[in-house]
Amino acid sequence: MSEKRVTFSKSGIAWLLVAPQLIITLLFFIWPASQALYQSLWQEDAFGINREFVGFDNFLKLFADPSYQHSFVVTIVFSAAVAGISMGFALLLACKTDKLMRGNQTYKTFLLWPYAIAPAVAGALWWFMFNPTIGLLAYAARGLGYDWNHFLNGEDALILVIIASAWKQISYNFLFFLAGLQSIPKSLIEAAAIDGASSNKRFWTIIFPLLSPTTFFLIVVNCVYAFFDTFAVIHSTTRGGPSQATQTLIYKVYKDGVEGNDWSGAGAQSVVLMIIVCLLTIIQFRFIERRVHY
């Protein structure tokens, strides 16, 4: 593929053109990140009146804290479940929609709607449906013999936020999978069918491997989503409880920083999260760039 490169005779104009983006990046990314880094090295009271330099003490305290380790576990379980469920359902829906002749467009439109809903609204919707006193789904669960109470049972609460978060993300994954499926040459599938491969075998040996760049990309995107964008869902439903059962890393930052006014501890947690994102980004760039073919 030929690469087009635009060159400027004077670097001044180039700087001017990237200036808006640079300013935004500086103001909204570099400045807060450096502030968090700086704050994580100090121990101070809420008002910032008394402060004491403690170096890496905050980080050491953090990793020794069982609540923080627990948040790590919760986040990993939560992300795996959200990514797995939403991608699984999205793939299933994409395969079925791909095969449809008629009604294709209608299904695509309806399946897109959850993505348009604000996370807090989605959380509130599912919260109502599962409310032990007035929720339809809680009522159904009790009919089946299960006493649903996500205020009391950590597992119920975790299931609630996983469902609410995964539901929203299905649309996004669905779109990408559908596009990925439609880029697979039909001739390959037809050839396999002529050779006698069953639909199941065709899927797992031809379609799924050819979808792998899309799948890999979506895994990373879903992980980032589950790590960060699910804050609104958790905040509008379980608020990290009960007993920290739904306290993901990002929610702990909010809890300690905004609710507890412990800016130093929250700063340290933000720095750790920032490092995790950097790692995820590096993985995405190194591996995906290599495996995408045009």
Partner: protein, 440 residues
């Protein structure tokens, strides 16, 4: 053509703006950040408007900043950015943090003395004053909305179960027996509670005259240590977990999340703040009554007073002295018996001054609205001692979170009460040491 019309329009708007800013400069604006939403916020704004209309020099600008936590965080962040308001409403849990911020706050007793406004600590209820004064008895923040927990009960359900509808169970054994009768009469659960730490541990300890923390519950020093894992507290939490199994008690979440359980008739008894009265009245379709919190008769014969919740108004430094005259005048206005009485009767918060309580009594308010004087009676019974004066612990918002985490673990059957409360105390003590270290 468009050009000249546009220029004229701009000129008109600019001159109007000049006039507006000129008149605005004559009045000193006083920023008042609060956490009163809904009808409470409307009432507060009404008070501010009436104060503004009564004089021309100062204009109180009330701004709703979200719930208590959000309001306090906003004020702290604003202070760090040198954009703080004059007045901020902070909940009782933030008292220690505010008190330690010596450079940031302007103690109310000092403000009123400096501005020569009348201010008599004895006019306020003892329980309220005790909570918000320093070791010398000086009031640091203006008491405004204080509440205390009570028991709301479903009178219709009591009648159906053959219980006396005019009396809520006075002791925990009586409550257990009542709950069993209610369950036999078809109600799925006996009782539920909001604010688990505040009601079932902090107020529980005060009522039974046992300490919450050393150093007089934190009043006497920052080197305090939590003592919520005493024998009686462990026994009570274990009992709640036992009752959860048979649904004599059914947990419905923190704060007031368990309200729907009572409103829908699922649980016939509901323990929550006296300030929930308005919400309860608006949400239930049955007749309800108000009673005092129960106690364990084998642990204490005459239970002590309950402790307050709610919030006070703190004044922040950073403005010219002339501004604070307006703040002082507004505080005098808010503390007047008429305003306090109106606020108390509307909201369900307690009348903070004895004069307001008297006025409400004279007006026959408590006769017309049975149950509205129960919280005050519970708050003022007996004489408060070190165990029932309240508490003053740093980082208490986080500590409450920790305590409620552990209570939830016990109720879900994941930990024994002893292990959970021991863990709560250990985790909380770390937070207390952190607070002590940064505020020495």
């Amino acid at each position: 053509m468009i050009g000249i019309r546009f220029i004229r329009l701009i000129a008109l708007i600019a001159s109007m703006l000049c006039v507006v800013t000129m008149t605005a400069k004559a009045q000193t604006e006083i920023q008042f950040w609060h956490a009163m939403g809904g009808e409470l916020g409307e009432k507060l704004t009404d008070f501010a408007n009436r104060f503004n209309a009564s004089q021309k020099e100062y204009k109180i600008v009330p701004v709703y900043k979200g719930n208590y936590t959000e309001t306090m965080t906003a004020a702290i962040a604003a202070f760090r950015a040198k954009q703080q308001p004059h007045i901020v409403q902070v909940f009782e849990v933030g008292t220690a943090t505010m008190m330690s911020a010596k450079g940031a706050i302007y103690p109310v007793y000092q403000l009123m003395a400096d501005q020569e406004e009348p201010f008599d600590p004895k006019a306020y209820l003892g329980a309220v004053v005790g909570y918000y004064s320093d070791s010398k008895g000086n009031i640091l923040s203006l008491p405004f909305n204080s509440s205390t927990p009570v028991v709301y009960y479903n009178k219709d359900a009591f009648r159906k179960a053959g219980l006396n509808p005019d009396q809520s169970p006075a002791t925990w054994p009586e409550l257990e027996a009542a709950a069993k009768k209610l369950q036999a009469a078809g109600y799925p659960c006996g009782f539920t509670s909001g604010w688990p730490s505040w009601i079932q541990l902090e107020n529980f300890s005060a009522l039974h005259d046992i300490p919450i923390a050393t150093r007089a519950n934190g009043f006497d020093g920052l080197d305090t240590v939590l003592q919520l894992n005493g024998a009686l507290q462990v026994r009570h939490i274990a009992k709640l977990a036992e009752w959860q199994k048979s649904k004599i008690f059914d947990y419905g979440g923190r704060r007031s999340d368990s309200g729907p359980k009572f409103y829908s008739g699922e649980c016939a008894i509901y323990m929550n703040s006296s300030s929930a009265y308005a919400a309860v009245k608006a949400s239930v379709k049955f007749e309800f009554g108000v009673g005092m919190l129960p106690y364990w008769p084998d642990a204490i014969q005459t239970p002590k007073n309950s402790i307050i919740g709610g919030a006070t108004l703190w004044v922040l430094n950073g403005y010219p002295k002339s501004d604070y005259k307006g703040v002082a005048k507004f505080f005098t206005y808010l503390s007047s018996p008429e305003i306090q009485t109106e606020w108390h009767q509307f909201s369900g918060y307690l009348p903070i001054t004895t004069k307001a309580y008297e006025l409400s009594r004279q007006q026959g308010f408590y006769d017309k609205n049975p149950g509205t004087d129960v919280p005050i009676k519970q708050l003022t019974r007996g004489t408060p001692n070190a165990n029932s004066k309240g508490l003053r612990l740093g980082n208490f918002a986080q500590i409450r979170d920790v305590i409620e985490d552990e209570i939830e673990a016990v109720l879900a059957g994941k930990k024994t009460a002893k292990a959970a409360l021991d863990d709560a105390v250990q985790r909380s003590n770390e937070l207390l040491r952190q607070f002590e270290r940064t505020n020495k």
